[in-house]
């Protein structure tokens, strides 16, 4: 295992990973009788790609929901950027620079792709209601500035052609990409991805992988992702947390995890390559 102190480390391919960005300490979450998460701790370091894997119903999505403030754990602490995070509403969490995508696509169906991406930029827009009503002046300027940034992301994710299409009409895979675009538009420091590649074929997964890597590379965005495709997880991530029935059963580099017997038993079935 790597040294998991707050210090950074260097990955196999030579990227430098910074100090701890977020740390989950002893999180426990249950719904009535169902224990979704039991006493889990792990950390996410600045600039790394951190994967969370585990069988269905293990509590992975719930963990992301805890991070984004949607679920409030019964026990445990969330540390972010070196400070303990007080209890806050999800939108406040978002303003701290945490953006995410959802397992069951949560796009705004009534809007076009462009508008969806623009909602990602809402936290960067500050014009008041009154000025917006007048439009000319500040509101228009701000709109155009943010539009430019949104367009950059649209270009980056190669969804220019569907800019004006209502998202409800898009096929599943493109929706996932639009969701990513929306999250990226927020220019987050921590990006949470919940099964970004479910329902995609290999080619599309390749594209998606490339986007994720590029985001990580170019903007230095820290990424936590949940994924069931072991190929993707093993290739992309720097470190992997493995959950099963709400418990953590493994944590380490892909290679370590791949060879961990508990993980093989609970999740992988056969050792994967």
């Amino acid at each position: 295992m790597n040294d998991m102190s707050t210090e950074g480390y260097t990955t196999a391919d030579g990227r430098k990973i910074g100090g701890t960005l977020m740390e989950m300490k002893n999180i426990t979450l249950s719904f009535g009788g169902v224990k979704a998460i039991t006493d889990i701790s792990f950390d996410i370091k600045e600039g790394e790609i951190r994967a969370i894997i585990g069988p269905n119903g293990a509590g992975k999505s719930s963990m992301l929901n805890v991070i984004s403030g949607f679920y409030i754990p019964q026990q445990g602490e969330v540390w972010y950027q070196g400070a303990k995070r007080p209890q806050m509403r999800p939108y406040e969490v978002a303003r701290q620079g945490i953006a995410r995508t959802f397992q069951n696509i949560a796009l705004f169906d009534g809007m076009s792709v462009l508008d969806n991406v623009m909602t990602g930029r809402l936290n960067h827009m500050t014009t008041g209601l009154f000025a917006q009503g007048l439009w000319k002046g500040k509101a228009e300027r701000e709109e155009v500035e943010n539009r430019e940034r949104a367009e950059k992301i649209i270009d980056f994710l190669e969804i220019q052609a569907i800019r004006k299409t209502p998202v409800a009409r898009l096929p599943y895979g493109l929706k996932k990409r639009v969701e990513l675009a929306r999250a990226l538009a927020a220019e987050p420091s921590l990006l949470l991805l919940d099964e970004p590649m479910a329902g995609m074929n290999v080619e599309e997964k390749e594209d998606m992988s490339r986007f994720i890597l590029d985001v990580n590379d170019e903007f230095g965005t820290t990424i936590a992702l949940i994924e069931h495709d072991m190929g993707v997880v093993m290739d992309l991530s720097d470190r992997v947390v493995v959950m099963d029935y709400g418990k953590k059963i493994g944590d380490g580099t892909p290679d370590e995890v791949r060879n961990n017997q508990d993980v093989i038993d609970a999740y992988l079935g056969v050792s994967h390559d």
């Binding site: 999800p90 939108y91 978002a94 953006a99 705004f108 809007m111 209601l129 709109e143």
Partner: protein, 430 residues
């Protein structure tokens, strides 16, 4: 073919973000404005203004307001009547000189200019709207819709009981005294048709433009995000409290203005339970849905539809004239053409789908309706007993609402959009 966008390039995001990105649309829009502002005022009389244009414009404002709340922000409200009442009574107090009691001494403001009275009434309503919007943070969907009825019933009750609001008049009625702008009477008995029309038109136009600005920018996106999926919206950083309450505020502001105009300019005298009852809430909601949720144009279309339809039906069914008027003969031609078109549609549909009602084939229903209209108008009204006509009106309005929803659940605005899309592709089918 008819409708081209090729060659209409945009070189800046500004251009792309404008309201009518297609040139053809833009010109049509200017044309409509020109007709509304520069031609209509010279052509209308009392009947047109009082029976059609004023209610149309005023309901349009209310519908835009409600559309912001329901269509953009997804918070279904049935409190429109109550909020209009707030607007009306606030306007009344402002235009007759607001009186306040402080330590048992009465102070009265001088009457405020009618234009500002209307705007202030909107602001007061916005505040009330925000108050009644507070439960929306917890309550959603139809539960919220029913909850807003609390506002409806409470406000109506309040204005019935609170004699300060109606200046202690014996019956609780309020009457709009005569008020002027630039020396032209806008309210009261001796107004001119064009003056009241222009006054409402200006306000409606301003309202529409502001609403469009709000909905195409950041606020609009916040509202729509809340509408489409409130949890996701919150997680990506929309403060639901602010978004919902701002929608309630803006929406109530519009509805308040509509209420003020409804009372002061249109009716001149109202009694709260009669004028702002629960029926008002429903009728404005119909307009919004029939017109199209989340569409400013739709608000106008819906208002036009529900204001015109009963008048048209009455004209067709109840009236009877011995000689055919110019208007009805023109109309009869219009409808005959519509009828012919509908028949062609029907035939095409039968040929294509081999079924009478499949798919878009409600054509034949429209065809028969158009045929009847043409007939009725040509002979200048059927002259049926008014009660039968009144019952039939209910039947027809009800049936039309259903037919429209089946044909296009997203309202007239969407019908319009599909038509445009088809025109754009014409003569190719796809």
């Amino acid at each position: 073919m008819f409708y081209r966008e090729a060659g209409d390039y945009k070189t800046s995001y500004q251009d792309d973000g404008q309201t009518f990105p297609i040139k053809f649309d833009r010109y049509r829009y200017y044309f409509v404005l020109f007709v509304a502002f520069a031609m209509v005022p010279f052509l209308i009389n009392d009947y047109w203004v009082n029976a059609i244009f004023l209610p149309f414009l005023i309901y349009s404002i209310a519908a835009i307001g409600l559309n912001i709340l329901v269509g953009y922000c997804g918070q279904v409200s049935l409190g429109t009547g109550g909020f209009m009442a707030v607007g009306a009574y606030a306007c009344y107090k402002f235009m007759t000189g607001l009186d306040i009691w402080i330590d048992g001494v009465q102070y009265a403001l001088p009457p405020i200019n009618i234009f500002f009275s209307v705007i202030l009434a909107g602001l007061v309503t916005a505040v009330v709207g925000v108050l009644f919007g507070l439960p929306s943070l917890r309550i959603k969907g139809f539960y919220l819709a029913v909850a807003t009825l609390a506002a409806q019933f409470f406000l109506v009750w309040l204005f019935n009981k609170w004699s300060w609001a109606y200046n202690y008049s014996a019956s609780g009625q309020i009457n709009a005294p005569e008020r002027e702008i630039f020396g032209v009477a806008i309210t009261g008995p001796s107004t001119d048709a064009w003056a009241t029309y222009l006054f409402c038109l200006v306000i409606a136009a301003l309202c529409a433009i502001v609403a469009r600005n709000l909905t195409r920018g950041a606020s609009g996106r916040k509202w729509m995000a809340i509408r489409d999926m409130d949890i996701a919206a919150e997680i990506i950083g929309v403060n639901p409290l602010k978004a919902k309450l701002s929608a309630f505020a803006v929406s109530s502001f519009y509805i308040g203005i509509a209420g003020a105009l409804f009372f002061a300019v249109y009716l001149g005298a109202v009694e709260v339970g009669e004028a702002f009852g629960i029926q008002k809430s429903f009728i404005v909601l119909f307009m919004v849905i029939i017109g199209g949720l989340g569409s400013i144009f739709g608000s106008f279309a819906g208002a036009a539809f529900l204001v015109l339809l009963p008048v048209l039906l009455k004209l067709m069914l109840a009236d009877s004239t011995d000689e055919i008027s110019g208007f009805s003969s023109v109309m009869s031609w219009v409808f005959l053409v519509a009828f012919a078109a509908a028949v062609v549609m029907l035939v095409i549909n039968i040929v294509r789908t081999r079924s009478l009602i499949a798919g878009a084939g409600v054509g034949w229903i429209f065809a028969s309706i158009a045929a009847f209209m043409a007939y009725a108008l040509t002979i200048g009204g059927m002259g049926w007993p008014t009660d039968i006509v009144a019952h039939l009106q209910l039947v027809i309005v009800g049936a039309l609402i259903i037919i429209f929803l089946i044909a296009e659940p997203h309202g007239l605005a969407q019908l319009w959009r599909v038509a445009k899309e088809k025109l754009r592709l014409w003569p190719f089918p796809h």
